[in-house]
């Protein structure tokens, strides 16, 4: 465990600026707010065109210096200085985070998944927390999407997709939640493959479970989240991490979706619009209405009668993918 393999000096500065990590649970006067993604994108641009250049060179500068060099209003400069000031406490928290088997990377670091950076660009989270072998993040995988309460046919399908994905030596990407996510991951594990779990909450608590820990230690599972390791569940959190699931995948397969409601539907629509990856939806005689509507909106059909016959699922997905632009067109000018 060498923390510097994960976080460069620039990464440490970005973490101090963009994450609530190390700020959490502090009582007393209201804490200074870390930079939101959009704010950070702006600051990053300013920074690279200034003489300061790198985030790490922000350390130790006075408010006046920051205001002048970055052409910022005093309050913003003050905010940067204050956020960076907590680096001592951050160091203590980070050491503890890594000692407990977790890691942190930022968009400026080498270990940040490059697929995510390329696909999501400005929308790629500035900071990721995770656990497990980061090299599993190098290969874009096949995302399996669906709700927690899944119909029996969907469950069989999800497991089979998991199995066929790892048989072609790709990782399964899922939200790590109960239901579809877990079933697809189980399929991958049964076939001795690897999986990427994008968590919406509770990274710290999740890795305490002995079955999860065993997979992490065996380098068969990697978990990551854009939220603090102790963050609890929130609907916003669950929605926010959807783009990471699509962003880490080459193909996404929607197993079962409700129509116009729920995270699966919203995430799939968002993915179709943004073109993060090729989106497929399970097709067949008894698929939910959401699936049929997604197919109308541009998702590529993956017939459930086909799946079992496929020798090489990723090859078939590649062959059947529609160019992303088509999907964008469907939504006109949005």
């Amino acid at each position: 465990m060498n923390i510097h393999n994960y976080l460069s000096d620039d990464g440490l500065a970005v973490l101090a600026l963009c994450s609530a990590f190390g700020l959490k649970e502090a009582p007393g006067p209201v804490n200074v707010e870390p930079f939101k993604l959009a704010e950070w994108n702006q600051l990053e641009k300013r920074l690279s065109s200034s003489s300061i250049k790198n985030p790490s060179s922000l350390q130790g500068r006075s408010t006046e210096d920051l205001a002048k060099n970055l052409s910022l209003v005093p309050q913003e400069a003050e905010r940067i200085a204050e956020l960076l000031q907590r680096s001592g406490r951050l160091a203590l928290d980070l050491e503890n985070l890594f000692s407990h088997g977790m890691w942190a990377v930022t968009r400026t670091d080498e270990l940040y998944p490059s697929k995510l950076r390329e696909t999501l660009k400005n929308q790629a989270p500035a900071v990721l927390f995770g656990a497990g072998e980061t090299s599993l993040l190098k290969k874009p995988g096949v995302a399996v999407i669906g709700s927690r309460n899944i119909d029996p046919a969907g469950a069989v399908f999800a497991r089979e997709v998991g199995r066929k994905t790892v048989e072609a030596n790709l990782p399964v990407v899922s939200g790590g939640a109960r239901g579809t996510d877990r079933i697809a991951m189980d399929g991958a594990m049964e076939a001795e493959g690897t999986a990427i779990g994008v968590l919406a909450d509770s990274l710290e608590a999740t890795i305490r479970k002995s079955d999860v820990r065993e997979l992490l230690l065996d380098a068969r599972l990697v978990l990551l989240t854009p939220y603090a390791p102790t963050a609890g569940f929130s609907v916003g959190g669950a929605m926010g991490r959807n783009k990471l699931i699509y962003g880490l995948a080459e193909f996404a397969i929607v197993v079962s979706s409700d129509f116009q409601t729920g995270g699966t539907w919203a995430g799939a629509i968002e993915a179709l619009k943004a073109g993060w990856c090729s989106v497929f939806a399970r097709d067949g005689s008894d698929v939910p209405k959401g699936n049929r509507e997604l197919l109308k909106l541009g998702a590529t059909p993956l017939p459930d009668t086909e799946l079992n016959k496929l020798e090489d699922l990723p090859a078939w997905l590649r062959k059947s993918s529609k160019p992303h632009a088509t999907e964008l067109d469907l939504f006109g000018s949005t």
């Binding site: 440490l12 680096s87 001592g88 890795i207």
Partner: protein
């Protein structure tokens, strides 16, 4: 500098001034915000440096400083010293839990300048989640005491210092770091430098001018007890006798008391308040001698200590230097006598062999934790057939390696992979053997003893002291009274070796046992 000097004089009297190097260290850390390693002998006044640096940083608007130091129960003296300098310092450790609430409040209201903690505390969840966030603003400075522990080449092996290194390497530049040690040779300094980049090294002379060193070989314990009884009353002031084991500390103290010398023992088995009381008795010269293990160490500062005698030979020259260096800080003449006997090699060999838990213990502990959720120490003891001490040692190393985490509910395997660093433990063990050989050479040395110690520490000022037994030619031995040897022999015979009962039984075992006992035997 004038402001700082004025402050010093205001607190310590008009005659007070900085010693060589003190201001340099304060200036580099507080004003230049650099990383500094100070190598200065004990009693030089490193606490003045970190307290004044902390105060100056506070005046510049920085937050409180974090001082990381082992053996915190002995930090009371430090706190008193800091108060004289107008610095508000507090300490948090397992023995002052009743004060935590008060400390929390003063942290919240920003009324703490220096927070002192042990290296272990850095890995404590409650500290990190509850106390640390109370610190208002930034952490002004990190102070690392006994910094030689950072290096495997240091004489004192403390696994927790690896955590400190990881921490310091995460700090951006411009967060001042002050590392201090009284015992680091070139190899240790270089190693620390490699681990903590951009370190300024400030190094002073280590010789203690007032100290008269003697080495006396007396094979049996009876002879050494008799020697102590005969010669202690002739030594100036009060002092310390160091023993290698707690049992020896008790025995020696008891024999000396029998012989009419006011002696008390001091070791890790004493409760916190007992230790404080015993220390105070020595500080007030109410006892002639404390018979102590290494538990009496850092933080104990008695400038007029008249003598330090070793009942057994320590494991290394550096450890010896550090302990004997407690004598004669502020008096013209003090004695350092190293007695060595037949059992020394055996004890040191035991220390070296048991310093690292065997690999199979580490692996079995991990194997057990891998299949479980949180397990208590009792639970581990019940499953694995090793002594509690060996298991605790293994758990400590695994924790520092990040393979195991622990909190009040027990131990838990983390998601970090672990592979044994046998090369490292072998290297440390080899180094311990070399150190042992070096101190064996020291006790045989016929040249200046102080010069030998200084050279071992690569002190550039090493030179013959003119005071030790070899410099003065006082190598003859006075005879020890036959009656005293007789008395000591009898004492040792009577002091039948008490077999310590196992202090903790795994709960489940106890339950099984009780079930098999006749009712009457179970209270």
């Amino acid at each position: 500098m004038e402001n700082a000097r004025a402050l010093l004089q205001q607190m310590l009297g008009p005659a007070a001034d900085f010693r060589d190097g003190q201001w340099d260290a304060i200036h580099l850390t507080a004003n230049e915000r650099q990383r500094v390693l100070v190598v200065q002998r004990t009693g030089w006044g490193k606490s003045v440096v970190y307290f004044l640096a902390a105060r100056i940083l506070r005046e510049q608007g920085a937050g409180p400083s974090l001082l990381i130091s082992p053996l915190l129960s002995l930090m009371r003296n430090q706190i008193l010293a800091s108060e004289k300098l107008g610095v508000r310092s507090v300490t948090i450790h397992s023995e002052n839990i009743h004060e935590w609430e008060k400390i929390q409040k003063s942290l919240e209201s920003n009324e703490v300048d220096v927070l002192m903690i042990s290296p272990e505390r850095l890995g404590n969840g409650e500290f990190l989640q509850k106390l640390l966030p109370l610190i208002q603003g930034s952490i002004g400075m990190f102070v690392v005491d006994e910094a030689h522990c950072i290096s495997d080449w240091g004489h004192d092996f403390r696994p927790d210092y690896r955590r400190i290194v990881r921490l310091l390497r995460l700090l951006p530049p411009k967060v001042p770091v002050l590392c201090t040690t009284a015992t680091a040779n070139d190899r240790v300094v270089q190693d620390i430098h490699e681990q903590i980049p951009n370190l300024h090294i400030l190094r002073g002379p280590l010789v203690r001018r007032s100290l008269k060193l003697f080495n006396i070989k007396l094979g049996t314990q009876a002879e050494r007890l008799a020697w102590l009884a005969q010669f202690l009353p002739q030594l100036p002031g009060s002092g310390i006798v160091y023993t290698l084991t707690i049992g020896d500390a008790r025995r020696v103290s008891e024999f000396l008391t029998q012989q009419g010398i006011s002696a008390r023992s001091y070791h890790a088995d004493l409760e916190g308040d007992e230790r404080i009381a015993v220390e105070q008795q020595l500080l007030d010269n109410k006892v002639k001698v404390l018979v102590a293990t290494v538990a009496l160490g850092m933080g104990f500062d008695k400038p007029d200590l008249g003598f330090v005698i070793h009942f057994q030979r320590p494991g290394s020259v550096v450890a010896y230097y550090q302990q004997v260096g407690r004598a004669g800080r502020a008096v013209d003449s003090a004695y350092g006598v190293l007695l060595n006997g037949v059992e020394d090699d055996e004890i040191q060999d035991y220390f070296i062999r048991t310093a690292f838990p065997p690999l199979r213990v580490m692996e079995e502990v991990l194997g057990l934790l891998a299949k479980s959720d949180t397990v208590t120490l009792d639970g581990i003891c019940a499953e694995l057939n090793y002594s509690r001490g060996a298991l605790e040692k293994a758990l400590k190393l695994l924790e520092v390696d990040g393979a195991v985490q622990h909190d009040s509910t027990g131990y838990l395997r983390t998601a970090n992979r672990w592979k044994p660093d046998t090369a490292r433990s072998e290297q440390v063990t080899r180094h311990r053997r070399e150190e042992l050989e070096q101190i064996k050479r020291y006790v045989q040395h016929t040249g200046c003893l102080m010069e030998f110690l200084s050279r071992a520490l690569d002190d550039p000022a090493a030179a013959p002291c003119g005071k030790c037994m070899n410099c003065t030619g006082k190598t003859g031995r006075q005879t020890i009274s036959a009656e005293l040897i007789q008395a000591a022999t009898q004492f040792l015979r009577k002091d039948s070796f008490l077999l310590e009962p196992r202090r903790y039984w795994p709960k489940s075992l106890l339950k099984d046992l009780e079930q098999n006992l006749p009712q009457a035997a179970v209270k």
